[in-house]
Subunit: 281 residues, 2 copies
DNA sequence: CTTGTGTTTTTCATATCGTGAAAAATGATT
DNA sequence: AATCATTTTTCACGATATGAAAAACACAAG
């Protein structure tokens, strides 16, 4: 299967581009609009909020909140439950929000995240998804170092020997986990491969606890791998981000520091595809 | 919109309710906010709009548009594609929008059911609810097959051309059915679309008899769909589960077998949300 | 390299319009 | 009825959103 990895392409009619498009330009924001959006966000989080509650929690005057809500309600972005006198997120917010899906491709969104991760750490960054009980590596940004982990996009790997695979297994509901493992034969690749079901269960517990998985020469001798899960809109783990490098650089000591970067990248990607992390649910 | 709302839900201290909550109170709206939301909506509709385009189409000054966009971008509601210099809907809009679905546990409960249905049949499984006389597809588990039915969550479809729509119509009390159909124009999508009121009545009788509905290329040529209704605690059909796939796989012969799976899934979901099927009443 | 063109930002002076305090309205509670 | 806890509305003020125009910018053409 060819992985469509289209780097820079398409129309490029760039004119009048400003220099810094970081967030320094955040001086030109409209204050009142920003505050209104904060209220919008707040309402969407809660499940039925009273006007007074919102006012208190957002530190705004009830009058202001009232006008914001009425305005948003006029466009269906929020909704008023007249029975219970509570404000909810409205249907049109859903309609607008789902329009985002039209242009979301996990792979495209992952590129900048992977690049940043590689640049921050100097190691090869990977993106993998689950396909038929195995991990399919779909995208990658390679390090510049001459000694590097190498496995091209398109590679398939059993779940129990890949960092991403273990990260996904650890983030999975129990029943689905069991169904997936039922079809596995726990093939051994190196002397470090986990081939025992109980040891894997232990490992998954550990992964859940610390938030990232490590493939410690379980697939290839001399290669270590750190991975974290990416969640979709349903808080289901749909992909994993990983960092892979030679054991000489990715030492057990280094893993601790690198894991932070990997987790941050996974979280950034989760946000970029409109996902929500398990714990936010 | 008939999504079962959990009646428990927090404080119910209803006081100081206003009289008319129609739209007469739309005098208290905030002008600038409303205009900003119009821009937001506009951006979400388009697929990549230039600042100048938005300004022209919304009749606002470029400067204003710029500030609105920068503000919204600060919250991830819109996004700026620096390559192409185009504005898009942002990931956070999606995040907020999907929170609409949390108002009901229906979607959450449906996930495992849909997944199992997909795995059992190999075809894409969908969940839809009725909203304003149309079917809103709110959740989906896609098949892995490369030839697949595709319509993203958030899609709206007239009731008479969707399997779920017909299943819901068939499970509806007569008076509500008539009220709903009154507002329909029976738009035709393919040569198989049912555009005649009497033929639809026949079809609904057939659906009631066998317990499932079939969309036989009535919406999209080459796509067949099998659907069954999901009931809430009041034995009202509040949602539908469907299976959709290409006519090459979902043949008339296959429909018989698949329908059993669909009905089972719908019944499982009915149980999962504490509903009761019509006949159990 | 210089000039020209179609963009996108920033500046700035102006009056619009959003704001909060407080009063009025409203329905639940006693 | 009277009281209370909310939610609307009113009102006067000044913060701030606004559009025009100028500046900054990228690219194309000369």
């Amino acid at each position: 299967m060819a992985i469509p990895d289209n780097p820079e392409s398409g129309p490029r009619r760039t004119r009048g581009r400003p220099r810094g498009w970081d967030d320094k330009t955040a001086q030109n924001t409209i204050k009142s609009l920003d505050r209104a959006m904060a209220v919008f966000d707040h309402v969407s989080r809660g499940s039925g909020l009273a006007l007074s509650t919102i006012a208190a929690e957002t530190q705004e005057s009830p009058a202001t909140i009232y006008r914001i809500l009425v305005t948003l309600a006029g466009r269906g972005l929020v909704e008023f439950d007249a029975e219970a006198q509570l404000w909810h997120i409205g249907p049109h917010a859903f309609t607008i929000g789902t329009r985002f899906l039209r242009r979301t491709s996990l792979v495209d969104r992952a590129r900048p995240v992977l690049r940043r991760l590689m640049e921050a750490t100097g190691e090869t960054a990977n993106l993998g998804v689950e396909r038929e009980g195995a991990i399919l590596f779909v995208s990658q940004v390679e390090t510049h170092a001459s000694i590097r982990a190498f496995f091209p996009p398109g590679t398939l790997s059993p779940m129990h020997v890949s960092g991403i695979g273990k990260a996904l297994l650890a983030a999975m509901p129990q029943d689905r986990l069991e169904r997936l493992l039922a079809g596995q034969d726990f093939a051994s690749f190196t002397e470090h491969t986990i081939t025992d079901r109980d040891r894997l269960a232990d490992e998954l517990r550990r992964i859940r606890a610390r938030g990232y998985a490590v493939d410690d020469e379980e697939r290839n001798l001399g290669m270590r791998c750190i991975a974290a899960p990416v969640f979709d809109m349903n808080a289901e783990a749909v992909a994993g981000v990983s960092l892979s490098g030679p054991t000489s650089r990715v030492t057990p000591d280094a893993v601790v520091g690198l894991s932070g970067e990997v987790i941050a990248a996974a979280e950034a990607l989760t946000r970029a595809i409109g996902g929500v992390a398990r714990r936010e649910v």
